[in-house]
Symmetry: C2
């Protein structure tokens, strides 16, 4: 049965939380007295559906159900996790917690607050031990960071449970060990913001020039390594201490205006707003959101390919979810074996709107890998020193797989001997074959790098399948060379 | 004839400049009295060769020649551009400029200084009008940003010329209109650095926690949109002024400790160095550099796919070079075209420790996509409704590509007609072909889903290449079917 998340307070942040829970298979109950709440959350949800699944290489679970509740009580009843994202007013948050805690007991209550410390949130609460900060970053359905800030009054077990829930919805919970205004990340943003305001006010740089100074330089670095790791590298062979010795003295130079806060008056506001319009006004906000999300997907998939940073978080999330699927067992029947099931994911689509070429071969690999596992030649066998390698592949690109298509991979054995498997794989959408791949696999002793007979127990599983398939019609495409007349 | 860049002062920054010029086809003359200069620059060059070409979808020009000169005079004689990257000491820089200007007149002299204003650099110079700041970001051979800061004494034509040169080597020159300590970007880094030091000193966060707070959240955003554009989106429908109205008041909250500078003593240095070792010590600096570079390539290619930010800079650079590639008739040589460069990434490796099957097809797609762009059948052409589809592929899996291998994709045209391209792609590690892919592409009218002749302007680029390749030996593997006797 799906678990339930209660989202108290909508908008961009509450909507982002709702989307992340929902798309990870949780039921979501929303309470927000704003009559526009359902519309606003719907817009965030649309953005999220267009983006979050593109991070995944495992089919998404079925979406949960989302309900917009008439009362806060209804929203939190039976919830396994509660996230508060109302306006940044302490008195309002206190009232909300009081209401929540009349209907819910022992359930973690995370607050999206950027400004208040957990001890402030916990003041006068019926049960302070379950209230903590869980501060996300926009867009909440894409960026993994959630700063989790307990206080001395927090129940450590509740905090650990909250962190585990956040991991289960694909986030990276950063446990902030000492509560402090604005937690960690926003303190840096605040510092940069002040400096940027001075530069705009003093006419040194426009909003656009400031933004380019960020995204064409250190901004690119900070998506993959933070401040200290970057400087460690800069210290080079001489090391971090050398870097610090060089850099430390700069602190006393009059580089920043950080001693003062610029006066935030109408003149400054108009200046910034005007420059921002000139810089970004050619796109609507919705367009900018979609552009941002696609860029972030690109970055995060790049890190996923490299098993680094936010990409590592994605891989772990896939792994956790993959474990809940069970591979269908296959028997040696007189039909091609259905060995793989997959869904064409947003990240598999090229600029033509179709599945990229290489994904067909990926789909075939999923199919042949499943076949090798079936005959006992999977990872453990490989670890012992022998493996079936693909020697040759012939692909017929017959049709187009589109976003969302459910595909199966089937395998027909064309022929075997003690060293080789000659196979015909079909990637199908229902009965339509979108691609076929004829492949020759060669069994190799990996230590000496030479072909050799497969183990008797593997051949004992392989041969009956080959015999069962011997009566199947030979595919027309088998034996083709490129450009052969049809 | 290749142009000449003089690099005065080596190290990570000078070496990065040398690499960027060299790999973009300039001759480079280096002067640095450090006996280790050639070795250190060699290491930067090795990193750059492993990284910079991976950003390109146009064959790289021939590398320039690099010379390590015995005197500064020899380095700057005949140079078209001079970049100074000596230590951050004003008296030293003044001496260097004086020496340069005895041997060079009218040539732009950019300084990599992060700390000095151009007017300070120009003090007592023989010709101040050609001296300016050109401040890059590490790694200089990858990150596009160069802050170009003139002073009131600068010659505007020299500044424009310098900016054009920087664009020609693939950079994004940001013209800083008013000189100021640390220019623009480093002012932000300094602000964050101070805040981070306080957090470490006060035990609120370790170096690792700070770095995760950056790279799991806003760091990812800042690689594609800067501060103001991000906040514009956050302001949503209500707009920037609404966002500012909400955010402005926060400035008076006691969020930052920026009023003070933490004392930079041995104790703090040891604390930071120790935490940094714990965080990052499992990798050597060289390993971290390579990881960083591959991550940055991933980000920048993701932006390139989306024609955004730093990716737009790369596309414009390719476009500029493609024009000279055609003019030089380089496409009509009698050799297979080297069209793609890539490195086998951690995410491409299967349980055998080798590159997964589907990645060979991915590598081939990168190669054929680059070919299609070369003949004018890239994204814009596809957007207008026609596209070359892959109809059939035959893969010979010949060798194993391993983690870290640098691969090139070459394409040999076997035959063409008005609707088809018959191509032979080799994926190579150096001279060793690890996989070959024979492919038939079919030109299709996407609206009606039928094959049709390609546009005349595409055929006009395709046919000369086909003719130039007609004399190449036909690959043995062409025309094979699976299981054919060798």
């Amino acid at each position: 049965m799906a678990r339930k998340a209660a989202i108290i307070g909508g908008g961009v942040i509450g909507g982002g939380w709702a989307a992340r829970f929902l798309l990870n298979g949780w039921d979501v109950a929303v309470f927000d007295p704003d009559p526009q709440a359902e519309r606003k959350i719907g817009e965030v949800m649309a953005n999220a559906r267009a983006a979050l699944p593109a991070l995944s290489d495992v089919p998404m679970p079925a979406e949960g159900r989302i309900t917009f509740c008439g009362t806060l009580t209804e929203a939190v009843e039976g919830a396994d996790y509660i996230q508060e994202s109302v306006s940044e007013r302490l008195d309002l948050k206190h009232r909300v917690f009081a209401q929540i805690q009349q209907a819910s007991h022992g359930v973690p209550i995370g607050s999206s607050t950027s400004g208040f410390k957990p001890s402030e949130l916990q003041e006068n609460a019926a049960d302070p031990s379950v209230i903590f900060v869980a501060h996300p970053f926009n867009p909440v359905y894409l960026l993994p960071l959630a700063e989790v800030v307990p206080s001395a009054r927090s129940d450590a077990k509740v905090i650990e449970k909250a962190k585990e829930i956040l991991r289960e919805i694909g986030m990276f919970p950063l446990h902030v060990r000492k509560e402090i205004d604005a937690h960690i990340a926003d303190r840096f943003l605040e510092a940069v913001w002040r400096e940027a305001l001075w530069l705009v006010k003093d006419g040194v740089a426009t909003t656009e020039e400031i933004d380019e100074a960020i995204r064409m330089g250190f901004g690119l670095r900070w998506g993959q390594m933070g401040l200290f790791e970057t400087y460690r590298i800069a210290g080079g062979e001489a090391g971090m201490k050398h870097f610090l010795a060089q850099f430390g003295p700069c602190l006393t130079w009059p580089w920043t205006k950080l001693m003062d806060v610029p006066e935030f008056n109408d003149e400054l506001v108009d200046l910034i707003a005007g420059q921002s319009d000139a810089q970004s006004g050619k796109y609507s906000i919705r367009e900018l959101e979609r552009i941002r999300d696609q860029n972030l997907i690109g970055f995060m998939r790049a890190l996923k390919d490299r098993n680094w940073g936010a990409g590592k978080v994605l891989l772990e999330h896939d792994e956790r979810r993959r474990a809940t699927f069970h591979d269908a067992g296959a028997a040696a029947t007189g039909a091609p074996l259905v060995l793989a099931n997959m869904q064409v994911l947003p990240g598999w689509i090229d600029y033509n709107g179709h599945m990229t070429e290489s994904r067909y071969l990926f789909a075939a690999s999923e199919t042949s890998d499943a076949f090798l596992r079936l005959i006992g030649a999977g990872m453990d066998y490989v670890a012992a020193g022998h493996s079936y390698y693909t020697a040759e592949t012939h692909i017929m690109h017959l049709g187009e797989a589109k976003l969302g298509d459910r595909l199966t991979g089937t395998l027909q054995v064309l022929g075997v001997d003690e060293k080789r498997i000659h196979a015909f794989i079909r990637i199908q959408r229902g009965d339509t074959v979108v691609a076929s791949l004829e492949q020759m696999f060669l069994h190799v002793d990996m230590k000496v790098g030479k072909a050799c007979p497969a183990a008797p127990e593997v051949l004992a599983r392989l041969n009956p399948i080959a015999q069962a398939h011997a009566g199947l019609p030979r595919p027309d495409a088998a034996g083709r060379h490129v450009g052969q007349r049809k």
